[in-house]
Amino acid sequence: MKIFFVVIMIFFFSCEKQDDGFLYAPCEDDDCIIYETTPYPTPSPYGFPFMIIPDDNPLTIEGVSLGKKLFFDPILSSDNSISCATCHIQNNSFSDPGQFSIGITGESGFRNASSLVNLGWSSSFNWDGTAENLREQVFEPVVNPIEMANNWDQVEYDLNFNSEYRDLFKRAFNIDYIDSVHVAKAIAQFERTLVSANSRYDKWLRGEVMFTEEELDGYNIFNTERGDCFHCHSGKNFMDDSFHNNGLDETFTDFGLYNVTRNDGDKGLFKTPTLRNIEYSAPYMHDGRLSTIDEVIEHYNSGGIYSATIDPLMKYVNSNPYGIDGQSGLMLTQQEKNNLKAFLLTLSDNDFIQNNEFQP
């Protein structure tokens, strides 16, 4: 009888995986419990575009709260030592203040952990765009040998062994067996709630505060040909959801987007990062090579370094064949550089890094 029950279970689970969303509860008629979920309001800050939420993973109070628990739980790593939050630290806008994050083996990777902010308005993830959506992204760190070094069979085993998780997954998704897809769904739900929209800049847009003269000039440098940052760091989240070579290197050790597309023209292109909370998310660039905002501004002010795939928007590039030393770059004065920085600092949202909704 016991064995027969297991067979039935396997039967249901093996089919269940294809039916994202519609789920069986393998229980006897009279003890079947189907939980109602409570919708979680779609984040819609002032002036932002609609957040597109996949039909098969609507935000629910139960799902978001389960995702948060998983995000902070080392149970996802093979030796129970690190969680997502080890590398994505709220105080740092859910990024890592270390240049490269250290995984469970003590080994470090080769990229700087991105900040996790307003991800619900993005349509590609990771510096090279390896993940097309948040759910897909979750599958990467859990099994990456230099991050959480786990495997999904183990994760599923551990979670199903845990009665609290069995209950929470049942309440969030009405499932009796916890699988990787639902782990990813829950985490993706939580990630969509990591919304930052109360920076000084947002308050200025809403007419609640006035910019100083410096901030206003910085805003103008950013948004005109004087600094020309807005073409790539564009829109409400200061990123164009696309990939560019912003002139960091002459030759590449990390090929970025090329790793995904195998198109020569994509060598050295990386996803434009958001500039929201940039003050908190140092160090900067895909490899964390720059440690301060001043260094970043200096990089752009110098014009950057020429390579075959540099973006035409980096039009004042300073090294040959595209420029003359000393006569290229943005040529901003010290005051203008200070003003640009003052503007970038208006993107800091203290409420976001202190928000206790995001804490376990």
């Binding site: 064995i3 027969f4 067979v7 396997i10 039967f11 093996s14 089919c15 294809q18 002036g47 575009p49 609609f50 349509s123 805003y219 103008n220 948004n223 005109t224 040909e225 004087r226 020309d228 807005f230 564009s234 829109g235 990123m239 164009d240 959801d241 696309s242 035409p312 928007l313 980096m314 039009k315 004042y316 590039v317 064949p321 595209y322 420029g323 003359i324």
Partner: protein, 269 residues
């Protein structure tokens, strides 16, 4: 029941589930205007059949330099100012695309189109059903003032907002065109130019075109052709005079605008 039978049963079930997963994508006709349109089709197998009684038309947007196809990323072109130049990127907006018919009616084909050299699908409109033979076509390069305001296309597809917004600091709205590449400057140095056009200092800078179409029964292909050198020839526009980025320069925007009259031509066959 013995155990091995159960194992067999399990395997059977899991295979039967799996098969659905790996099933072949459904082939069929994916054109909604066809009479045999198959809404379940995932791959178009070229089987579409059309109602011959309906008039239909295809519109292709083509880009040339001196009547030649553009070779992107190639520093081989020369404009009226004798700037040697290349093109790396060409994005532009065509709005209010309207077909006018012999029966004096007209229809707006699209509010705006976002045309991109790196996306061939953005450069053609296929199988537009029309009520009568076309007599003329009209459209605007860029947006007229009433169709161009900050955040107006915030939620539009193809990442249009982020890729084409024209910052509030410059008056707001959207770019009309992003033409980017390199040129050899007066000191023989290769430099980037970003010829980005849009509204500035209260000037709309968009340009509306209307072309008569003389075509006989049975023709269904229209070409809307743009010639890049026409942006720079009359009056002569020299990249050395206007600089590498021109979004804030009314002079440069006006110089381009004054060149727009003959940038497009329309042919049919």
């Amino acid at each position: 029941m013995n155990q091995s039978l159960l194992v067999f049963f399990c395997l059977f079930i899991s295979f039967s589930c799996e098969r659905e997963d790996n099933s072949e994508p459904i082939q069929g006709c994916m054109d909604e205007t066809a009479i045999n349109y198959d809404s379940d089709a995932e791959i178009d197998d070229g089987s579409c059949q059309f109602d011959d009684d309906l008039l239909r038309i295809n519109i292709d947007f083509r880009q040339f330099i001196d009547n030649q196809d553009i070779q992107y990323n190639n520093l081989i072109y020369s404009n009226a100012a004798e700037n040697l130049y290349s093109i790396e990127k060409l994005y532009y907006v065509i709005s209010d695309l309207t077909l006018h018919y012999v029966n004096a009616e007209s229809s707006i084909i699209s509010n705006y189109l976002f045309l991109k050299n790196d996306d061939p699908n953005s450069l053609k409109l296929n199988n537009i059903i029309i009520p009568d033979t076309c007599s003329s076509i009209s459209f605007t390069l860029g947006f007229s003032q009433i169709n161009n305001a900050t955040d107006m296309y915030l939620n539009d597809p193809n990442n249009f907002h982020n890729l084409m917004l024209w910052p509030d600091a410059l008056g707001g709205g959207y770019h009309y065109m992003k033409l980017e590449g390199t040129f050899i400057d007066i000191n023989e140095v290769e430099k980037f130019y970003n010829t980005h056009t849009g509204p500035l200092d209260g000037n709309d800078n968009s340009y509306s075109y209307s072309f008569n179409i003389n075509y006989s029964q049975g023709q269904s292909q229209l070409y809307i052709d743009m010639d890049i050198n026409k942006f720079f020839n009359n009056p002569v526009y020299d990249h050395n005079d206007y600089g590498q980025g021109i979004m804030g320069s009314s002079e440069a925007q006006t110089a381009i605008k004054n060149n727009l009259g003959d940038v497009f031509s329309v042919t049919s066959n």
